[in-house]
Symmetry: C2
Subunit: 420 residues, 2 copies
Amino acid sequence: MYRDVLILYCRAPNAAPTETGMSRLALSDSDKQARDWFVKTTKALGCTVTIDNIGNIFAVRPGRREGPATFAGSHLDTQPSGGRYDGILGILAGIEMLSVLQEHQVETEFPVGVVNWTNEEGARFPISMMSSGVWAEEIALDRAHNTREVGGGTATVKSELERIGYLGSTPASYRSVPLAAHFELHIEQGPILESEKQKVGVVKGVQAYKWFTVNIDGRDAHTGTTPLQSRADAMLLAARLITHTHRLATAHNALASTGILTLSPGSTNTIPGHVSFTLDIRAPADATVEAMEADLKRDFAALAAGKDIGGLLANSTPGKPLSVEWRTDFVSPATIFHPDCIGVVRASAEAVTGDSSLVRDMSSGAGHDSVYASRRCPTSMIFVPSKNGVSHNPEEYTSPEDCALGAEVLLQSVLRYDRM
Amino acid sequence: MYRDVLILYCRAPNAAPTETGMSRLALSDSDKQARDWFVKTTKALGCTVTIDNIGNIFAVRPGRREGPATFAGSHLDTQPSGGRYDGILGILAGIEMLSVLQEHQVETEFPVGVVNWTNEEGARFPISMMSSGVWAEEIALDRAHNTREVGGGTATVKSELERIGYLGSTPASYRSVPLAAHFELHIEQGPILESEKQKVGVVKGVQAYKWFTVNIDGRDAHTGTTPLQSRADAMLLAARLITHTHRLATAHNALASTGILTLSPGSTNTIPGHVSFTLDIRAPADATVEAMEADLKRDFAALAAGKDIGGLLANSTPGKPLSVEWRTDFVSPATIFHPDCIGVVRASAEAVTGDSSLVRDMSSGAGHDSVYASRRCPTSMIFVPSKNGVSHNPEEYTSPEDCALGAEVLLQSVLRYDRM
Ligand SMILES: NC(=O)NCCC(=O)O
Ligand SMILES: NC(=O)NCCC(=O)O
């Protein structure tokens, strides 16, 4: 029964298992629908629901004794063209946990709960894990509220929370809503479990990452009358800088990615005078991310001034100097989860699979709400395999069986922790 | 008096000479205002006005005899953040010509006229010199009508012509509205006249150019969990390709520019699976543009497949192959103007300046409506200096004195040709 429900949830109606994706940007109309469903469903399962002033929704089922609840948590928002598992699986498995407890009339020692964190993706509002960050008091409420949507729109997190009716009255803070522990079931989003033919990842920590916006200023000019040597071509410089980020990432054994780029004025026959692009840098160690940042700042300035780096300017016509400005949008230092939670997850995974060779320790390449949860309560995560390691893509896929296995590990982890 | 009026027109009210720019995209509300003004003003100067079905406006002042008119022509549309001279100067000088003729009750041999061509810039609707091209029957009316605005909007040339009331009933064709000759006064948009301390350019021809849209398909993927070697990063490939276009332009002594780039899905933590960018290639000879195109097609395919070109992939991590597709948006072969018109412009320029060392022959880096006019009637152009060679930029500037000088050369050229 447990497995059946999950299979149902994880497959879109009338769709082959890998056919569809999700586009449920944070605080959009469809996010409101999913939230309404979450509130209704958890209330029907006997929960008390609290909404805080960053829109986090905490559903709590009472236990034998009073005290902070042990939580399953994740997020219902997705990338603009995301998959059906990233975040969603953790919430659905949490709700499935509540319904199993209810159905079997299980009394837990302390309360247990499920939390849906707002804007984990950072896709529409470019701070990832935003609202677990506010709850942890690591991101200021004001800064989160005033974050604007990408793409030049005027909506802010606060205006959208008001619009969809999810600006709650409870202060967003671990002081107002303390968690006894936080367990998060998530798809791996990478290739390791699949390629090693393993079933469950016991997540011990998360790699470091930093997000930047890089702004280039050159000069608008006519494409047909401006000789190469007279140009301050912001798009050409952006192209060289992005090429360079990849080289440095290779050298540092790190990751560098540009997901958004805008330019102006945006006309076929005008050389763009302005380009702005995002840069997402990641590595297991904070020091590597810092070193990448320092190297890139130095090299971007050199390339903007016309000094060659690594032959990028070879066989090119020297142009006019441009200016490059950096803005830091988001910092997530490397995270190590709590040994108690890691131990609980490992024990549960071995019990559920019945075969410890199907279980491995791993670290996460992606950020998760568990990063911020772990700053204020014992935390760990459970990973299940991602087909071809693909995520942030409609092709994201985890088999119903693997989803159900992960959900069982989640349930057991919460119950084991509750009993501790 | 002649000079005073031009000085007035060419300076925005209350603005220092270089302080302001123009944003009058083709067929926008502000284009409608400028058109209304053009129609009203030319009618008040005794002209008959004809509007064709691509929105070209022909104002004709009768002469002693019937027959095709000798025209001054250019365009009133601008770049999204353009200057106050590109196109506009040619129209204002044409109207000033009409008003001088009227004031002094000059009777010309044949009619003379002024034409405002629709969407010369190709900024909003990405075909430059669009409507002189339709008039010349070198661009199909349907194709022009159905051209959509850049940036994902739904407006087409036809829907906007209807909306602003400039979809005329006369067929756009040199057969319906024949021109005896076409003279166009324009700012140089380049640095030569200024740096040579000369005043008037006698334009003998226009360089070749081609516009393309390049579409890259890779795969959306998570920036934090996708190792460099598993990526099909469309933005990284675009960066390499744009870097390469500049190198090839250097090698061919040509120009290559990217003015528009869009990507999807557009999220900081998703590697873009799709990028689309424009490519504007120019060179004096058609053969050079063709050679550039052939080289770039070959090299783009190689780079997309992971084969290195010119060390671009050095110190990089090989990723997955991507696909690259080309679409040709616009072709303007090299143009040579008519010797009669060139002669008339040269004689007029020498007469007006009184010093032949202030006059030089030159060729145009930018396209102009005269390119298409020249396919169907004798044509030439008059250039005046551009400060710092800057154009397609609010800083575009030509001194009032140079504007007036150019206007005198235009007037004399039209009168000389009329008498021929
Ligand atoms: N799990 C996940 O995709 N989180 C988004 C935050 C990140 O970019 O890592
Ligand atoms: N004169 C001018 O800026 N024309 C626009 C067409 C081109 O791109 O050359």
